[in-house]
């Protein structure tokens, strides 16, 4: 249990650094910077907790983490009077599936260099990683917009 807690805290710390770096790259207003880091840290902590502590799959865990980020972003948006996408996108950056995308690319490149018989394995690896990448990205986006989908339900005007 202690090992899990330590892992979660460590991941949260590094996620905060990552989210903060990208917040600077995206030129967020200075007073939003800390909240972006907080969103990144908590989102990733939730995901790690579900992954390691509750044996959830990575897509479901990402959806849960991103939903938490979405609600934090919604709260920060009301509090700081800024668009929620600032906190949502910066907070989601630490969960972007960089390694899976990279492995997809490596496997795809391998396919081009081998005989058709030997291509089966890298092809499957590429497909698996591409599907994971796509699903995780989809889960991230769906989680971030969750509050908007739940709370903002305008009556159609036409």
């Amino acid at each position: 249990m202690n090992a899990l807690l330590e892992l979660v805290l460590q991941e949260a710390l590094w996620s905060a650094v990552g989210a903060g770096g990208f917040a600077v790259l995206f030129n967020v207003p200075r007073r939003a910077l800390l909240y972006c880091m907080l969103a990144g840290a908590i989102g990733r902590a939730v995901r790690t907790l579900l992954l390691e502590g509750f044996d959830a799959g990575i897509v479901v865990a990402t959806l849960a983490g991103a939903t938490v980020i979405g609600f934090i972003a919604h709260y920060c948006a009301l509090r700081l009077k800024m668009p929620s996408m600032i906190f949502g996108i910066c907070g989601a950056i630490p969960m972007v599936p960089g390694v899976f995308a990279f492995q997809t690319m490596l496997a795809l490149l391998q396919i081009t260099g081998v005989s058709p018989e030997a291509a089966a394995e890298p092809l499957v690896i590429a497909a698996q990683n591409a599907i994971k990448t796509g699903l995780i990205l989809g889960a991230l986006a769906a989680g971030i917009v969750m509050p908007a989908l739940l709370f903002v339900r305008p009556k159609p005007v036409v």
Binding site: P29, R30, A101, A148
Partner: protein, 286 residues
């Protein structure tokens, strides 16, 4: 009221419609042709800035609508297309329509936040078209919040942190920091020369990949994957991809698909740059 007194603006919502036309609809006070022109110019400028700097389609449409109706129009109809906005201002029986191009200019959340705030001020009647013009000039010309070198350091630190999250150790993190910071510097330089964005992405990924590949000289294979994939994360089109999904979810399929495709193209450009780097450094059966 004497002539010296400042004219107080009434909240747009508090202005009672005074010209009920025969069409049976209620209308706001009549606007001059010139006023209508100003409103469409300014609200389109605001929308253009938002679209160029990374806002999603729904937000652009809502903001333009708030600005236009806040400045006295009855209604606005807005069509948000990839890198283009079409808008019509309507007041009583009169209307004006305009198309505005908005090529992407890189993510800038401060601009998105400030224009969003302006639109809420317009809705409460706290903003007239002359102040709005001044504010848009200021926002458009404002210097970034963070200096160039702060951005380079922050991006390097962020990519090093991701290297750690991907399972790299301290040496791998140091190499990632150097690779990402150098790549960010190169990206800024190339951006200044107005090269094609996809070309910039490929070249930057190549530079990051070559520097990150030095990890194999320092350590055995274990950290290679973490270092290489973290070093190019600064290029990942996170904002276009999240916006693409958001547009699709909220009923803007045209902008959603266009953003998704451009995000995919950027990802392919990253892959191409990395592949070239791996080939040059001889690190992989390519």
């Amino acid at each position: 009221m004497t002539d010296n007194e400042p004219v107080m603006l009434k909240p747009a919502s508090a202005v009672r419609p005074v010209f009920p036309y025969v069409d049976g609809h209620e209308h706001k006070p009549l606007m001059e042709r010139e006023e209508l022109r100003d409103v469409i110019n300014l609200s389109l400028w605001a929308g253009q800035l938002m679209l160029q700097h990374g806002a999603d389609a729904a937000r652009v449409e809502e903001t333009i609508h708030r600005l236009g109706t806040g400045l006295g129009c009855d209604w606005m109809d807005i069509l948000v297309l990839p890198q283009t906005i079409v808008a019509t201002t309507i007041n009583n029986q009169d209307f004006r329509t305009r198309v505005r191009r908005a090529p992407a200019r890189g993510v800038n959340m401060t601009i998105v936040a400030e224009i969003s705030e302006l639109s809420y001020r317009a809705r409460t009647g706290d903003l007239d078209r002359f102040t709005l013009r001044q504010e848009l000039h200021r926002i458009d010309g404002a210097a970034p919040n963070y200096s160039r070198w702060t951005v380079i350091l922050a991006v390097g630190a962020a990519c090093a942190a991701f290297c750690r999250l991907f399972g790299g150790d301290a040496v791998a993190m140091a190499v990632t920091f150097l690779a990402a910071a150098a790549a960010m510097f190169a990206r800024q330089e190339l951006h200044r020369q107005h090269f094609n964005p996809l070309l910039i992405t490929t070249v930057t990924a190549f530079i990051a990949g070559v520097i990150a590949s030095t990890i194999t000289l320092l350590e055995p294979e274990t950290s290679r994957m973490a270092t290489l994939s973290a070093a190019v994360l600064l290029l990942v089109p996170g904002v276009p991809l999240v916006n693409a999904a958001e547009d699709l979810l909220r009923g803007y399929p045209v902008t959603g698909i266009a953003r998704g495709v451009s995000g995919l193209l950027v990802s392919l450009a990253i892959a191409l740059g990395l592949a070239l780097a791996l080939w040059v450094t001889g690190g992989g059966g390519l």
